[in-house]
């Protein structure tokens, strides 16, 4: 291990944002010191609540994250955000454009935002996400929000890193058949119909409720379904409360547990 790495970890644990950012880079670049870094921060884990925000491109994940962070900050929580966007399969480049929706938090010392590109990983998140959230946890964040790339139906990498998963839909997201399909619909702890000032959000909520009621797993009926307008800051306190309930209740992470029993994800420690 390079002497520098040890200094970075000490600096990070002491509250240095510069050190935190540089450690994330090491983890993101799969540097030689990563196992040592993770070992050093292990005693400092366990504080943060890991919240995943996922959904199709353009449904408002970043704007919803921005609004949720404002609520969390209002309650005195410090927040870390990992916001993923896709790397090009052609040349490896990426435009990381989630941060732009979170401008109100740029100068808040209690908010740390890191944009990450997927770098060839499938599943909606970079391979290193699991370790990056741990760095934010060790840094002392109360809440770590992981925003996936705009996902389809089977990009479920978020189940490997989040304690609770919010699936963001829009009023145009589909009908009952779409919601019956396997994959992402099955792993969400909270279902959010964002942009509720457009189209027919009540229709989507009705279809979602019907789908959950038909599920053989009766606990699925307890899944929170919310309507939000992230841009207008409507329904966000309710989302926070749903997540809070999720954290305290039995429901949260239950599906995650089921998944973990079936197959140990390759990059989860």
């Amino acid at each position: 291990m390079e002497a520098n790495t040890e200094e970075l970890v000490k600096g990070m644990l002491g509250g240095s944002v510069v050190c935190l950012a540089k450690l994330i880079t090491q983890v993101e670049n799969d540097g030689a010191d990563v196992p040592e870094i993770m070992k050093m921060i292990a005693p400092h884990l366990g504080r943060a609540y890991y919240v995943g925000i996922t959904g199709a491109p353009g449904v408002g994940k970043s704007t919803l994250t921005d609004a949720l962070v404002a609520i969390a900050r209002g309650k005195g929580l410090s927040v870390g955000i990992v916001a993923a966007d896709p790397s090009s399969p052609l040349h490896g480049g990426a435009v990381l454009g989630d941060r732009i929706r979170m401008e109100q938090h740029f100068l808040d010392k209690e908010v740390f935002i890191r944009s990450m590109a997927t770098r060839g990983n499938y599943g909606g998140l970079p391979r290193s996400t699991g370790n990056v959230v741990k760095l934010l946890d060790a840094f002392g964040k109360d809440m770590v929000i992981v925003e996936t790339v705009g996902v389809g139906q089977t990009e479920l990498g978020i189940t490997e890193v989040a304690d609770a998963i919010v699936l963001v839909l829009s009023p145009e997201s589909g009908d009952s058949i779409q919601f019956m399909k396997a994959g992402i619909m099955e792993v969400a702890d909270v279902l959010v119909v964002n942009k509720a000032d457009h189209g027919n959000p009540e229709g989507i909520v009705f279809e979602l409720k019907t789908m959950l009621r038909m599920s053989a797993d009766s606990s699925r009926e307890e899944t929170a379904i919310l309507m939000t307008q992230a841009l207008n800051r409507i329904g966000i306190e309710e989302l926070y409360q749903a997540l809070e309930k999720c954290r305290q209740g039995k429901k949260c992470g239950q599906l995650l547990g089921q998944l973990a029993n079936k197959e140990q994800p390759a990059h989860k420690e």
Partner: protein, 132 residues
């Protein structure tokens, strides 16, 4: 300090009240196509918010765009603030409408490259690769 084999991370930022962001967006897209990971802050940023973003994102390059005549104020201020955070290795470049007479003094103040309208993206990309 080049991270061998890993994508170069670039922050494209527009300080001040200038709202002309077509050039910044073109560069964002162009550098993306050059295989870089590009973060764009959007318009009307303060020096503080740009520097804080550069810190958190641990970028290799900060590209500043100004078309409103405020470059002599903002560009050196941001370069100084980055140094103040200990980010001496970050390459700072600028673009937009920069009068030729200002270029030498900006370079002296730590803005290593100045690229005006019409510069091919390849030229900027090559400059970045050779100077980080």
């Amino acid at each position: 300090m080049k991270k061998t084999g890993k994508p170069i991370r670039v922050l494209i930022a527009k300080p001040g009240l200038d709202g002309h962001d077509r050039g910044a967006k073109m560069l964002t897209l162009g550098l993306r196509d050059e295989g870089m990971e590009v973060i764009y802050t959007g318009i009307r940023q303060t020096s503080e918010s740009i520097v804080e973003t550069a810190v958190q994102e641990d970028v290799d390059v900060v590209g500043l765009s100004s078309l409103s005549g405020a470059h002599n104020y903002y560009f050196p201020e941001i370069a100084d603030m980055l140094k103040g955070k200990g980010l001496n290795q970050v390459l700072v470049i600028g673009g937009g409408i920069i009068p030729p007479d200002d270029v030498a003094s900006l370079k002296e103040k730590g803005i290593k490259g100045i690229f005006g309208p019409g510069t091919p993206i390849k030229e900027v990309a090559t400059f970045i690769r050779e100077n980080i």
